[in-house]
Symmetry: C2
Subunit: 129 residues, 2 copies
């Protein structure tokens, strides 16, 4: 049994974020103490840690919901996990490619800049298209 502060420390999720996940229905609502404070079981803390690992892997919350639901499923877990993960990998790869192109373009832009100049060729280039 843990307070929200302990659950936060043990899962690595910010307290405010834990309450946000609860509001959004990502994680189940924990019990409450006599004075109304949240009380987390070890299993509930484990769920929070799971969500944290998923988020660290970059899965959007919508995917995390599905992944959490799969935990209690008995059929085809692997199939669904693979589909979600491969979609996510494709997304990550696209983003890497886009950022690489951007890096190249920015490098070209900066190389236009020469120290001590007043009129900036890079700025001109951005402006002229």
């Amino acid at each position: 049994m843990a307070t929200i502060g302990e659950a936060s420390r043990r899962s690595g999720i910010n307290i405010e974020t834990i309450r946000y996940y609860e509001r959004e229905g990502v994680v189940p609502r924990p019990g409450r103490s006599a004075s109304g404070r949240r009380v987390y079981t070890d299993d509930e803390v484990a769920v929070l840690a799971f969500v944290k690992r998923c988020r660290d892997m970059g899965f959007p919350l919508a995917d995390v919901r599905v992944l959490l639901a799969l935990r209690n499923a008995t059929d085809d877990q692997c199939d669904e996990v693979r589909v979600i993960s491969q979609r996510h990998i494709a997304d990550v790869r696209n983003r890497i490619a886009a950022l690489r192109r951007l890096e190249t373009a920015l490098g070209a832009l900066v190389s236009e800049c020469r120290q001590g100049r007043t009129a900036c060729p890079a700025l001109q280039e951005l402006f002229a298209g």
Copy 2:
């Protein structure tokens, strides 16, 4: 002289986004027709196109504001443009590195998945930590 629709087509920025930029003070307010519609000069369309190129380069709007102000400055343009651009390049490189690590981790996760299985080792791994 262009309507907002023409300005949108020529700059490549969505109409709603143009209005948003105006509200936020990123671009100056254009003149208005007798009936209250926005009327853009060629220079104002060029500013929009400049903003579009900056955004395509991934500069945040805060940077775009500075870059736009630099257009009218006469001193040290190049220095400031270089500082902003290099900060942005560093940011882009950090993001690429983070995404690469993510790609590797996701690859490892998916390799745990094997077709036809019911219990998913990848899911177990996410859960166990």
